[in-house]
């Protein structure tokens, strides 16, 4: 293909719960050619993806032949686990342990709620079958696997309607032989079954978590293959070049080839938030900041993610389908590397109420999109954060969603007035209180997230996006002591861009326990060779050449006996080189984090990690020439709003149209900026300037 003749375009489409967002970018100019929103078809999300694709073609924006890169993020897996839409899945395990799925970790996740339910396992009782086999703590085979019995067991499960099988044997993270042998015979006998092995999906010690992950993987395999595979085929039929694959976003913030996603589809869980974090990192870099704290506030939740050296950290585990969304321990554990972020129930739709103590609470209950905040006029009557922001003058009654939606101030006032009467405050004070409590909740979450990594949030720039984030960011920054806030352009649809800047990447982890001073480094080498081969075959499937892949190694270390590790990066697995360095790095990290180092205990390694990363997405945004500092040409109106440090009343503030702001324009708080999908608030004392990429970089004024 002669690429110099054709334009080069990249397309991302991000299937969310409500909308599917499309972003089309011209790779040569770095400009966004088109953005499009399509209502997500809950029954078959690929229908809405295809509809959007056709719409973009009909608009004349999309030329399939020009596409160099297509990236797809989807909530398909997350929703399938929540809504129980996966395959009828069976579980084959070691004799004596079929009920482990029901036991879970046997812990109360709310110490005062006697009746808090536990998540229902994905495998029904009748599809859990045991087979004779046993491996012990050092990988020794105590009882040889009865393969014939395993095949018989699977036959009975197939007869009972199972179309997917998860295999999980005890200690298979140390010795995968039994699982592998069972799998070989089963796939020979039942070639149509979807099979997931715990030694492959999550070779990590801890049987409940490992099995839970493996089952979830088997559970969504067919669904992902049919839905995503079908979509990819359709796109190729509709003009996408045969040599342009559709890449899929994963939870760890890397993209993989679609064929690779089918192999281990559980990695698609929570890929949307990962895209948001990547977008934050990208915008941070454009503004010259590699250390940013992203604040993504949407309708239901707010998410904070710490980005250091331009990269979001990874956490080793997440929970799917929580019974109570904001209570850890109430979901199904899934051990996959996932972008490390903290999520709390504070969004635009979060409902404010008075609790039994007479205190004002905001969230985690949310009015969501339906009925939505009272001011949407869609039937909601409860006061929400969005209603408060309307009363405070931050949101425009007629300019919401770029003028596509009118907000009903009377409805908001009625909703908040009711709450005000209960609190004994006036209506505006109540709205102000809702705004403040939401700010505090976000700041508290962001602070805990930073502190857990032993980072001082004051040293980071806050990067605010999501539909509701930019209203609150300047106030949240003051609580955190952060001195700068960056508002990227297109704050309402940042995730779709995140997909396009994602690198082709795969994150792998395996348990191989041992003390650093007596470690079998040859076994570690062997482990890394295997992981690198696996990673390379994934990346090769996506067309990445070996020499363009960077391999980053890290290992989870702890003091002998501890249950929680710190992850330490290291250069290579050379037998002599890294060991003293690993010890040194661990001691430093540990002392930083916990204040004091304990001596006399050996250092143990548990899980070895590999992050294999290909080149980053080719998207480069074009810089504009800074012009006049005077923003008056972008002034839409002035509006009364309440601001920090300006007493209890409303004061007049300028309202700018973001689409009319140009690089170089300077804004002074108090000020409001409106864009299609979000509203930005600059508090008094804030000084913002539009940078060449259209982001508004704000120096935060004095604390309130």
């Amino acid at each position: 293909m002669n690429t110099s003749e054709l334009p080069q375009h990249a397309l991302s489409f991000d299937v969310g719960g409500t909308f599917t967002d499309f972003t089309l970018v011209d790779l040569a100019s770095g400009s966004v050619i088109a953005e499009h929103k399509e209502l997500t078809d809950a029954e078959d999300p690929s229908r809405s993806s295809l509809a959007g694709w056709r719409e973009l073609i009909a608009q004349g924006a999309l030329d399939p032949a020009a596409l160099q890169l297509v990236v797809h993020a989807t909530t398909l897996v997350t929703n399938a686990v929540i809504e129980r839409k996966g395959a009828r899945t069976a579980f084959l395990t070691t004799y004596g342990f079929r009920d482990l799925l029901t036991f879970g970790r046997e812990q109360m996740y709310d110490i005062y709620d006697l009746f808090a339910p536990l998540p229902e396992p994905l495998v029904p009782d009748e599809l859990r079958i045991e087979v004779d086999e046993r491996v012990t703590r050092d990988g020794t085979v105590l009882k040889v696997l009865d393969v014939d019995r395993a095949v018989e067991a699977v036959q009975s499960m197939v007869n009972a309607g199972a179309t997917a099988i998860a295999i999980g044997f005890l200690h298979s993270y140390l010795n995968p032989d039994h699982e592998a042998r069972a799998a070989a015979r089963i796939s020979e006998a039942f070639p149509d079954l979807d099979l997931s092995l715990s030694c492959k999906v999550a070779p990590i010690i801890g049987e409940y978590e490992r099995f839970s992950t493996t089952i979830a993987d088997a559970y969504v395999k067919r669904l992902v293959r049919v839905a995503v595979g079908g979509l990819v085929e359709s796109l190729h039929r509709e003009g996408l070049a045969a040599d342009c694959d559709v890449h899929i976003m994963t939870s760890s913030g890397g993209i993989v080839a679609s064929s690779d996603a089918f192999q281990r589809p559980i990695r698609l869980l929570e890929s949307g938030p990962a895209a948001g974090a990547l977008a934050a990192a990208f915008h941070g870099k454009l503004a010259g900041r590699t250390n940013v704290l992203s604040l993504d506030m949407g309708g239901t939740t707010a998410k904070a993610c710490l980005i250091e050296d331009g990269k979001a950290g990874l956490a080793p585990v997440l929970e799917a389908a929580r019974v109570d969304r904001f209570k850890p321990g109430s979901g199904l554990p899934v051990i996959i590397p996932v972008v490390d972020l903290i999520e709390i129930g504070a969004g635009g739709g979060s409902i404010a109420r008075v609790d039994e103590m007479g205190l004002l609470k905001v969230g985690p209950e949310s009015a969501g999109a339906a009925p939505g905040p009272a001011c949407y006029g869609l039937g909601g009557t409860l006061p929400t954060v969005t209603d408060a922001n309307l009363i405070l003058g931050y949101l425009s009654e007629d300019g919401f969603l770029g003028g596509r939606m009118e907000l009903d101030r009377t409805a908001a006032a009625n909703a908040i007035g009711g709450l005000a009467a209960q609190l004994g405050l006036d209506m505006e004070a109540t709205a102000w209180g809702i705004n403040r409590v939401a700010n505090e909740a976000m700041a508290a979450a962001a602070r805990i997230h930073a502190i857990e990594k032993n980072r001082d949030p004051r040293a980071f720039s806050l990067l605010a996006f999501g539909g509701a984030g930019p209203v609150h960011a300047s106030a949240v920054a003051r609580i955190l002591g952060t001195r700068e806030v960056i508002f990227p352009p297109g704050a309402g649809v940042a995730s779709a861009l995140g997909c396009l800047v994602a690198p082709l990447a795969i994150a792998l982890a395996r348990t191989l326990p041992g003390r650093l001073d007596t470690l079998d480094w040859e076994a570690v080498d062997q482990l890394y060779q295997e992981m690198e081969t696996e990673a390379m075959s994934s990346l090769a499937a996506a067309g990445v050449a070996r020499e363009r892949v960077s391999m980053r190694r890290s290992v989870d270390l702890k003091l002998s006996g501890q249950y929680h590790e710190l992850t330490v990066d290291f250069e290579d697995a050379d037998h002599t080189g890294p060991r003293p360095r690993l010890e040194e790095d661990f001691v430093r990290l540990y002392s930083d984090r916990y204040g004091r180092m304990l001596t006399g205990l050996a250092i143990e390694a548990t899980t070895w990690r590999l992050n294999a990363t290909g080149p980053e997405g080719a998207v480069q945004l074009q810089a504009g020439e800074p012009g006049t500092a005077d923003p008056s040409s972008a002034l839409r109106e002035t509006r009364e709003a309440r601001f920090l440090g300006r007493g209890d009343g409303l004061i007049e503030a300028p309202v700018y149209l973001r689409s009319s702001l140009r690089p170089g324009m300077a804004l002074k708080g108090p000020a409001i900026v409106e864009e299609a999908n979000a509203t930005l608030v600059l508090q008094p004392g804030d000084a913002g300037v539009v940078n060449p990429y259209g982001a508004i970089v704000v120096a935060i004024g004095e604390p309130q």
Binding site: T102, M108, I111, G206
Partner: protein
Amino acid sequence: MTLTHLPERSTTPAWANDPVGLEIMWSRLMAIADEMWSTVLRTAVSSVIGAAQDFGCEILDAQGNGLAHASRSMPVFNLVMPVVTRAMLSRFPVEAMRPGDVYVTNDPWICAGHLDDITTVTPVFRNGRVAGFASTVAHATSIGGMLDRVRARDRLEEGLFIPPDYLYRQGEPNHTLFAMLEANVRSPEMVMTDVAAQVAANDVGVKRVNAFLDEYELDDLRELAAVVQQRSEQAMRRAIAAVPDGIYRNQEAVETPSGDVLLKATIIIDGEEIWVDYAGSAPEQPVGGINCTFTYTRAHTAYPLKCLLTPSIPSNEGCFKPMHISAPEGSILNAGPYASIGTRTKTGWHSHGLIFGALAKAMPVRVQAGNGLMHGLYAAGREVDGKPFTMYFFTGGGRGAGGGKPGLGYNCFPSSAGNIPVEVFESRVPILVEERSIMQGSGGSGALPGTPGHRFRLRRLPGSNADVRLYLHPDRLRHPAPGLFGGGNGNLTRVLLNERDITNGTGHMASGEVDLATDDDVYTSETAGGGGIGEVPDSPG
């Protein structure tokens, strides 16, 4: 000369009546307690803390009143940290406290009722004055003493008693105490590391509370505590007032090594206050560690009441002011200073069933039928190379029905601990777990059935030639988890060695030690099922 109008310092700060400011400040303190909690979790080395999470953290005011605890703290620990802190204040005058001090005790009469729970208390200093405290309680993997708690005759046999003392004085370790502790426990490196985790967590709490006081320009936590406690108290009073006034009674049997004894509760609800009295309960028992100290009894009375009355309010001192709890001195629920107390859960955990049963008529939808209760095993011995090991293995019991629902699976209530993964357990001790399964049909029957109990079976790791002994003090060997409103009881607990009931069908265990002498010895326990609620509806036809 200019007349300057100095603002008068009002007695009540502005935020005291501000439902917004107060919410923000209190949430901040709870977040600090959570951070302390995660510091312990991440730095402790024992399974009982690191995996099962048997510990708690709290922020207290300068008078030792609890203000905010970690959201996943062990519930009973939240109730004893204030008692310990006030006991420290009575022994170490506040004027004599210095920055860098850390106080410690495991005194079961002020702490959590057995010697195994160690409490550390660290004062928060501000402008040379004590502004509040950060405290942590955690279950030590060993405190010395005999392992077979079923045979203990007094607390002196049960391990080391640490009277309230300095652990650190102005930053200097109390070397004598450290040496005494280290010399008197099994797995000393594990115990000492866990204590260090507690101290580190308190350090974190102290640092963060100071930053909090800076931000709000407060001298101490007293005013905030008073306001929060007052509001919590009011909420509790309203909840009590909603329960019909009356006198409610119940009794339940407790299994002692020498036979059954009774616990009796009389609950009086009168307006906004509640009285719980245990008069008529059995006297202190001479053997078996089943006695409760009053601090422990009080905590296990207040906790179930809190669950029933105000489950959504974070616990603090104010919640408990409208509660009046008493037990006769010298009784099994208010034992004297030398009583054996090592298996006190076998008594204390029955306060929940007692209270739920007593209040069943008054609060029919909120009470819970009897729980199967958690089963704790303690494994100790030596690997073949001589290396000693000690480790707990917890499994939860079947839950009782309640709240309009059948028993919902398994948890360790009234402890908030979790179980320990089999792979983790096996990787640390030479034991092979052969089975963990549900015993179908062992839950109490009913319109809302209880959760069945479960079976677990284990043996010495074949070929390990290790010395392996188990210590246990199972409950519900003779008295099942009771059903409510006509619901059936759960099945009893059974403990088997080589498939034979080690009590020979009597339900009496004279010793809690089980020796796995050979590879062929198989230990099995079948834990009790939860109680059901309501009669089984007639099946159609």
